[in-house]
């Protein structure tokens, strides 16, 4: 992103992903965001850190990205009582991020919407966990808040509250539907139920061990998070990763994508009334997980990616099995894809259901897999191909219909592409070390990690403290940008289609609630 028009110059941040950090004054903040928007930048994350102990007040960080890389705008807020400009007027997804930043750090934006977002009355409303002088009290009891949902009024309009405990085996969250007959007029989400203090927890861990916590921000994306975290550490420590380790990380990341896409395609069939699909795809997914256990030591490959490389090498016998599994899976997936495509009942449920058209997707910043199904052509693996993606050259899979059918199609396309990538990764895998020592990162440095997980771009901003401690770590899931779009995609659909639409987005609660 080019900010020279505003007289701003960025300082390059170290690391694999091209990134610059740009200090801005209050007058420049909105102008820089607007310029970014005009240049096609997208909002990645917004967070605040408490730097009062270093006599710097609070620092608002806004991460944007475009085809050139990440631009991190940094704006100093002198004290907690001064508000900062409302970014959501330019990037709508900033609304919830700003509210969450207030709940945790206690610095508000100038937005009209000051409802809490991650705060649900479990700690005093005037205490802010990420302020450095915060001390939790065991006396604080879980409480209940009254949230100001927007109500639709009119003849025959009624309200359906759902959750936080849902009917299926899914994460908790609250949905408030305003409906007339079966038709959804409005959906409002209320999240935050699985907030378990992850950012605060990071600050009590050492840099060398926190990849385990990163890998548990959202369990379904454990490889993506652990890799993003490792990338941030390696950027600060200026550590190189052995080539074989980079290839094995990509292999793990693609197998994570394969497992999740297989699972989703099964459930999408099931929610479309086709239980056969669930039985078949969940069987294939289990095959992948079992081989993961043998080859990587864990079914979901948790704790496999570590700073400096990966936890273990890949035995030749398992490499061969993974290589064999690729064409075997591909054969079955092609058969199942034909069955899905030709199944009139299923296609009837999928097509035109839960649409997020490209212009809306662009406006709201829909990202990752859902974004690609709505014409948003971003994929970090292709846009910033780090080793080994520069060699294996993934193809970007996009659709423009933005409905459930498009999200199903993108999953099928990416699944087959990931199988091709896994074959290429095994074929091109070099011998050698899989881990290199990481020197202790210097204090007060910032490092970024940015990895295209199966759901979308996973972002981690890590700031080091003295003696191997973590001063601040902000993990950011693509779901932050996508949850608000789900509210729009549901409008005009019937209530019974909600589970299907929701599943086609398949967003994380844990990764969002932190």
């Amino acid at each position: 992103m080019n900010l020279s028009g505003l007289g701003l110059v960025g300082a390059q941040l170290p690391g694999a992903i091209p990134a610059q950090r740009v200090p801005v004054s209050s007058g420049q903040l909105l102008a820089a965001c607007r310029l970014g928007w005009e240049q096609g930048s997208r909002l990645v994350a917004l967070w605040i850190s408490d730097d009062r102990d270093r006599a710097r007040g609070f620092c608002l960080h806004i991460a944007l990205h475009d085809q050139e890389g990440v631009t991190l705008l940094e704006y100093t807020i002198p004290d907690a009582s001064s508000a900062y400009p409302d970014i959501s007027t330019i990037f709508p997804a900033a609304n919830r991020m700003q509210r969450a930043a207030f709940d945790l750090v206690g610095v508000a934006s100038e937005s009209d919407d000051q409802r809490p977002w991650l705060w649900l009355a479990s700690w005093p409303i005037d205490k802010f966990p990420l302020q450095r002088d915060f001390v939790a009290s065991p006396k604080w009891e879980p409480g209940e808040e009254t949230y100001a949902f927007v109500k639709v009024e009119g003849d025959g309009v009624h309200e359906i509250p759902v959750g936080p405990v849902h009917a299926g085996i899914i994460e908790p969250g609250h949905f408030r539907f305003q409906v007339v007959g079966e038709k959804v007029l409005r959906l409002e989400e209320r999240l935050g139920y699985v907030h378990k203090g992850i950012e605060k927890r990071f600050e009590s861990l050492r840099i060398g061990e926190a990849h385990r916590l990163a890998g548990r921000v959202s369990g379904d994306s454990t490889v993506a998070y652990a890799w993003a975290y490792a990338q941030a550490v390696e950027a600060i420590a200026d550590a190189a990763v052995p080539p074989r380790a980079a290839w094995l990380r990509a292999l793990a990341l693609e197998r994570e994508r394969i497992a999740n896409h297989l699972g989703d395609l099964g459930y999408l069939g099931n929610d479309g009334g086709f239980a056969f699909g669930l039985a078949q795809f969940s069987r294939l997914k289990e095959d992948v997980l079992r081989l993961n256990l043998a080859a990587f030591g864990h079914r979901m490959m948790m704790d496999y990616v570590v700073p400096g490389g990966v936890a273990s090498s890949l035995a030749a016998a398992y490499a061969a099995q993974i290589r064999e599994q690729c064409p075997a899976l591909e054969r079955e997936i092609r058969i199942l894809r034909d069955i899905y495509d030709e199944h009139a009942g299923l296609q009837d449920r999928f097509r035109t259901c839960g649409r997020a058209p490209p212009d809306l997707a662009q406006q709201l910043g829909l990202t990752g897999l859902c974004g690609r199904a709505s014409g948003q052509e971003f994929d970090l693996r292709c846009d910033f191909p780090l080793p080994p993606y520069d060699v294996i050259a993934p193809r970007k899979m996009t659709q423009t219909d933005g409905d459930v059918a498009a999200r199903v199609t993108v999953r099928f396309d990416e699944l087959l592409e990931s199988l091709r990538l896994c074959s290429a990764l095994i074929d091109g895998l070099s011998d050698g070390e899989v881990n290199a020592p990481v020197p202790e990162p210097p204090p007060y440095r910032l490092g970024l990690g940015f990895i295209e997980g199966w759901r979308g771009p996973v972002f981690i901003a890590l700031e080091t403290g003295p003696d191997g401690t973590i001063r601040r770590c902000h993990p950011h899931d693509p779901s932050w940008s996508n949850w608000p779009v789900l509210e729009h995609a549901v409008i005009g659909n019937i209530v019974p289609d909600f589970p299907l639409i929701n599943k086609s987005f398949n967003l994380t609660y844990s990764g969002h609630d932190l």
Binding site: S122, H195, S282
Partner: protein
């Protein structure tokens, strides 16, 4: 239609044909016996995510795949705690979920079993106790059996569920069991 039937036929019955680690099939068979012997009918489970990272949920989902085929063993996941014999609870209990978890527990008819799942459910896991987390499930509701693991494998989950129904002798089984069958 023909392709669907062909695919079903070609796939075969995976629950048996699978070259699985030896104990997996045994666990399922024992579980089925125990469900029948102890409960005399199907075991119904209400799963509650009280704050997990969603990793445990993925493995609970896996129980339904053809390899583990938990429904084949007479176990069903139900949508309401009022229909449940057992609560399968994951996560460190986030403070925000504590009230919902207690309400779910209260809504489950006696005698009820509670199984805490995962390192987080058993002892708070990596998240521990904090301003936002109450740690292990037993800190919030009584727990009968805890299944460690991060996440526990489907086999470990089956073994834990089995342990819960074999070990559990409901205090007032006779009078109260009738209220569960309504």
């Amino acid at each position: 239609m023909l392709t669907i039937l062909r695919q079903i036929a070609v796939t075969g019955i995976k629950t048996e044909a699978m070259p699985a680690p030896a104990d997996e099939n045994i666990v399922v068979a024992r579980l089925q016996e125990e469900v029948l012997r102890t409960l005399g009918r199907a075991l119904t489970i209400r799963q509650v995510d009280a704050g997990s990272c969603n990793g445990c949920e993925l493995e609970i989902h896996a129980l339904a795949n053809p390899y583990y085929n938990i429904e084949g063993a007479g176990i069903r996941f139900v949508a309401s705690p009022r229909h449940a014999d057992m609560l399968l609870v994951t996560g460190p209990v986030s403070k925000h979920m504590a009230i919902a978890l207690r309400r779910t527990y209260d809504a489950t008819p006696d005698p009820k079993l509670v199984v805490a799942v995962g390192d987080c459910g058993c002892m708070g896991g990596i998240f521990g106790e904090s301003y936002a987390s109450l740690g292990r499930v037993a800190n919030v509701i009584p727990v009968d059996v805890a299944i460690p693991g991060c996440p526990p494998t489907p086999t470990a989950l089956l073994q834990g569920i089995l342990a819960a129904i074999t070990a559990h002798t409901p205090p007032k089984a006779e009078p109260e069991s009738s209220s569960r069958t309504e």
